[in-house]
């Protein structure tokens, strides 16, 4: 089952609660970009765009777009006070050195161990990893936002990833339309089941073992 627009906003709103004042945060393309809208402005969060901006602000007013001020997804943004522009080595130096508190991205599969697969479907889609490996491996906290199952209804939360990994043991939190799940010591702990889903529905649509406490 597909995640509708409302579900996407619900997921993004839950993800936003993981962001604390003063944090440095990178939002991946797609659903993760919705998260920014749920982070209070007075938190002074510095959003990082891996093409070379620290301190992106919201989409500009219609007609005020600057073709040379865009995020890594290619969409126009603004710059907050304290923002800086730099080349891609600096953008990734900030990531690699471990200064990102939270990275929020999508996934094709996540395993019990927090392994992440999100960049290649062998024989089908080979988009390339972009900055996903750097971000997933080096951010202090990695939050995955995704549909609980794929378009064929198959589980995306699995015992072991069958797709090539983006990074091993990197995911800390999985948020889907059905549940919020923490990855703790190679175990998946369900923190919350999201209405209207039931515990049974979450368990049956998940291949990996889930813990409830």
């Amino acid at each position: 089952m597909d995640v509708g627009v409302d579900y996407r906003r619900v997921i993004a709103e839950w993800a936003a609660k993981e962001i604390k004042p003063g944090m440095h945060v990178n939002l991946g393309i797609g659903m993760p970009t919705l998260v920014a809208g749920f982070v209070p402005e007075h938190y002074n969060v510095m959003f990082h765009a891996e093409n070379g901006i620290l301190g992106t602000g919201p989409y500009p007013i219609k007609g005020g777009e600057d073709e040379n001020l865009c995020d890594a997804g290619g969409f126009p943004v603004t710059a907050v006070p304290g923002a800086s522009f730099f080349d891609s080595t600096m953008a990734f130096g900030i990531i690699r050195r471990g200064y990102l508190d939270v990275t929020i991205l999508g996934a094709l599969q996540v395993s019990e161990a927090g392994d992440l697969a999100n960049w290649i479907v062998p024989g089908k889609r080979v988009p390339g990893m972009g900055g996903a490996i750097d971000l997933a491996q080096k951010s202090k906290k990695v939050i995955v936002l995704m549909n609980h199952t794929n378009k064929s209804g198959e589980a995306k939360i699995v015992k072991k990833c069958t797709l090539p990994l983006t990074a091993p043991s990197c995911v800390d939190v999985i948020i889907t339309e059905r549940a919020i799940i923490d990855v703790i010591n190679n175990e998946l702990h369900v923190r919350r089941i999201l209405a209207p889903y039931t515990m049974e529905e979450v368990i049956s649509s998940t291949e990996a073992e889930l813990h409830f406490s």
């Binding site: 070379g52 865009c70 290619g74 750097d134």
Partner: protein
């Protein structure tokens, strides 16, 4: 008068692009098309140059940035970090018409910088435990494993700058900077397309991102001639 005119690197597009031929290895600036030099790409399309070995962050979009050359089948190989935004690149790859090699984005950026700085390469742990480490030589430092990633250089780099002075000092425009200062340093011949060309001394020495010594030719930009996705 005993006065030698300051050498200007400003030339015509035609003169600058005479350095790009069939089979040239070509680095390009740009990230999703933003910061790719539009007038140079247009001229390369018209020149019918082909079999290029491209090196750059991504494959652009089908009709944006370097994607325009890739979509037309002008490249035979591509070292990059992703091609997801240009389905033509994926199709050509699947048809074995485009040889694509992927690197994690930050690693690719550092490999190009290393080439520009005259280093042999870098040691990086990004990609360990993934396909990105396949075929890579490794080294242990203080009980930590790193991949040895060699420096990248190219015959020609094409660069988009906001301003260039006649010596070739460059400043860039916001997120259009991205890979531009990196590829500008890493090629034998660096061709810059500048929105504005100014006399030497006009740019504040403090704010220059790329020193002119790295630049060989400067051409006047005719502006972006593609439609952005968000437009």
């Amino acid at each position: 008068m005993n006065h030698v005119r300051q050498i200007s690197k400003v030339v015509s597009l035609k003169e600058a692009l005479s350095h790009i031929k069939r089979g040239t290895s070509l680095m390009y600036g740009g990230f999703g098309g933003i910061g790719s030099p539009p007038s140079i790409i247009e001229a390369l399309l018209q020149m019918k140059v082909s079999q290029l070995d491209l090196i750059g962050n991504d494959a652009g979009f089908p009709n944006i940035g370097i994607g325009r050359l890739i979509s037309e089948g002008r490249a035979r190989s591509l070292l990059t970090s992703h091609i997801g935004s240009n389905p033509n690149a994926g199709r050509l790859m699947t048809e074995n018409k485009l040889d694509v090699t992927f690197f994690p984005q930050g690693t690719l950026a550092e490999k190009i910088r290393a080439g520009g700085m005259g280093l042999g390469g870098i040691l990086v742990d990004v990609g360990l435990g993934t396909m990105a480490e396949e075929g890579r030589e490794k080294v242990e430092i203080q009980n930590k494993t790193y991949l040895i990633e060699e420096a990248l250089t190219a015959e020609v780099a094409i660069v988009y700058a906001k301003q260039a002075d006649e010596y070739g000092n460059l400043v860039f425009d916001k997120s259009a900077r991205n890979f531009n200062p990196l590829v500008a340093m890493a090629a034998d011949v660096t061709i810059v397309e500048a929105e504005q060309i100014v006399p030497n001394g006009e740019l504040d020495p403090e704010n220059i991102v790329t020193p002119g010594v790295f630049v060989d030719y400067i051409v006047q930009s005719e502006g972006v001639n593609w439609q952005w996705m968000w437009e």
